[in-house]
Amino acid sequence: MSTDTLLRLTQPTPFLFFTGKGGVGKTSAASATALGLARAGKRVLIVSTDPASNLDAVLATELLATPTPITGEPNLFGLNIDPEAAARAYRERVIGPVRDVLPASAVASIEEQLSGACTVEVAAFDEFTGLMSGDATAREFDHIVFDTAPTGHTLRLLQLPAAWTSFLETNERGASCLGPLSGLKNSQERYARSLAALSDASETTLVLVTRAERSALSEAERTRVELEKLGVTNQFLLINGVFHASDRDDALALRLEALGQAALAAMPRGLAALPSFEVPLKPHNLVGLDALASFFDQAPFHGLSEPRVASADVLENVAPLSSLVDEVAAAGHGLVMFMGKGGVGKTTMAAAVAVELASRGLPVHLTTTDPAAHLEGTLAEEVPHLRVSRIDPLAETEAYRERILARSRATLDDDALALLEEDLRSPCTEEVAVFHAFSRAVFSSKREIVVMDTAPTGHTLLLLDAAGSYHRETLRQAGAGSRLGTPLMRLQDAAETRVVIVTLAETTPVQEAAHLQEDLRRAAIEPYGWVINRSLAATGTTDPLLRARAAAELPEIRAVKAKHAERVFLVPWSADEPTGVAALRSLVQPDHPHVPQESSCSNTP
């Protein structure tokens, strides 16, 4: 059985969580484990809690909000916790009984209150604790495998049971600001059971998925420490996509191998102490059950007989990032936002564009809303004209609380202040505080160039949703004909804002980017273009496995050009993790080889 590696290390517990930085292969690892357990005769449910889940594509089955049988696998079921859908269901539970009894305007005001980010977060959380505390659905399965959302979100999701339990305990006045959660107080027992299950090694296993990359490893270490603090001690480390060069003449392949080994050698001590196993890099995309079943295979790759690599048409009409920089530099101000799933390189792209603009003498503000930001690490050096700031949710929430309390001290007595302080400890506050910080950065783009590396998709959409409610509220207060701008209006203005979607030339990332683009268009935001990052096809690699992966990129690049984006920027895979100023600038102005060598790869008739 292909999952032997994993199963030999761990007695599979009822709950298995897979977590890690976006793009490390959480979904593949979780699905492959679930498949392995199911084929070993266990009844298994795999759950996605990611707002931008791609589990459907991986399992080749459209998953519903209830356990959905996976085609051809009698023991395997999948379930997709769609936070938006959960929120809709929650709204309906509240509004349904009174819809025909109350006037339409009253119903509309309830609907608006329950359409915010809080309700979404809370409704998803409710589903999650349901499965963790052994509800009827959960009891039908031997194992529940959670393919969790990118790490920042995962942390919040996993911390929520602890946060809510203590919040409910300490809230003496009956939890006035649980807001959308008010009806859930009766289920306090359920949260307690979830928390107990999470910290019981016989019930819960946490698999930290990583790559042999410095940033992915330090993210895994952060998660390890955070979750250990919460009592989740039964942890395993899965190092995915480990690469061994088979063409010892390919400098790029050798460099890639050496980088991976160096990153593993420098692994944080706490991680190194965990039981771990390695999964080799695969030559193909892991989509579909057959591909998944090979996930844990250790056999080396022997190369395709006749690998087809780049044909010229694929690389035509793709621009370097410098053309984006030229446009922004000409305007002298405005907003450039890089969006995409975690792990595709938004932070690096934002840093590269910001550094290039700054090095042309333009004042640039580089900012990030990514809860798991590593921007400071990426850009350790000081660059003239460049200001780097981070929207840190915790710091923003604290500052926001202080601001509100300071303003209210003059007008409120001690009792009222105590009440306000208590309400400000609600989880809603963080969402509002982060949104305020986000708006400030958006508005400062009237005067300067602001480059933003936004958080992973789910979080980004929540931010935009918050901006949307704010938009409506402001317009309503100002009355018709208002000329007040709102954050969303600025995001919608193509002259002011360039939204760039970052993706990789792989099946799942391209699908996810297309979903993101649809979501943006629903909010009347038209993306400026797509960056295809870390393309092997744009290098001249001769390593058999890398060539096979480069060949697999071509249909994806074609699809992006034909179906998704007018402007496509192709960034070649770079041997070094771009951390310094020089490395970042070389992503924008590549002077390294860009077009594949026809001699070794030309196979087109």
Binding site: V94, I95, P97, V98, V101, L102, P103, S105, A106, S109, I110, E112, Q113, L114, G116, A117, C118, R173, S176, C177, L178, G179, P180, S182, G183, I404, R407, S408, T411, L412, D413, D414, D415, A416, L417, L419, L420, D423, L424, S426, C428, T429, E431, V432, F435, H436, A466, S469, Y470, E473, T474
Partner: protein
């Protein structure tokens, strides 16, 4: 002392202090504290939020009628026992005390004049 029951029907909002909106209105926190003070004087205080307990609005003929005729601008609606005493504004502590039939606070913490307050129908 023969006090009356105070019932507040709030507009749809996330929480009683409005901290979840884009801006916090201190008067909402003030009003919440006033209700707590009232309760501490032995007055039975009940408070319903349209977004959380719409059923309570349906179950009360006055609240239902107010919504019917004036829409959400009728809120907050305040009743002392079975009598509607205020609609569309957040009253002061003195007013609340008067309606409930208790002596208003001597602690000097609150405004004496009626302070109509803009509603805060927002949430995160």
């Amino acid at each position: 002392m023969n006090t009356k029951n105070i019932t507040v029907y709030d507009p749809a909002m996330c929480c009683s202090t409005g901290v979840c909106g884009p801006e916090v209105d201190p008067d909402l926190a003030r009003f919440s504290a006033d209700l707590e003070w009232l309760a501490a004087q032995g007055v039975a205080v009940r408070r319903f939020n349209l977004a959380q307990e719409p059923g309570a609005f349906v179950g009360d003929a006055d609240a239902q009628a107010a919504l019917e005729h004036r829409g959400a601008s009728a809120l907050p609606l305040i009743k002392a026992d079975d009598v509607v005493v205020s609609s569309g504004v957040y009253p002061s502590r003195v007013q609340l005390a008067t309606w409930a039939g208790v002596a208003s606070a001597a602690s000097g913490c609150c405004a004496d004049e009626a302070a109509p307050v803009a509603k805060q129908p927002r949430c995160c």
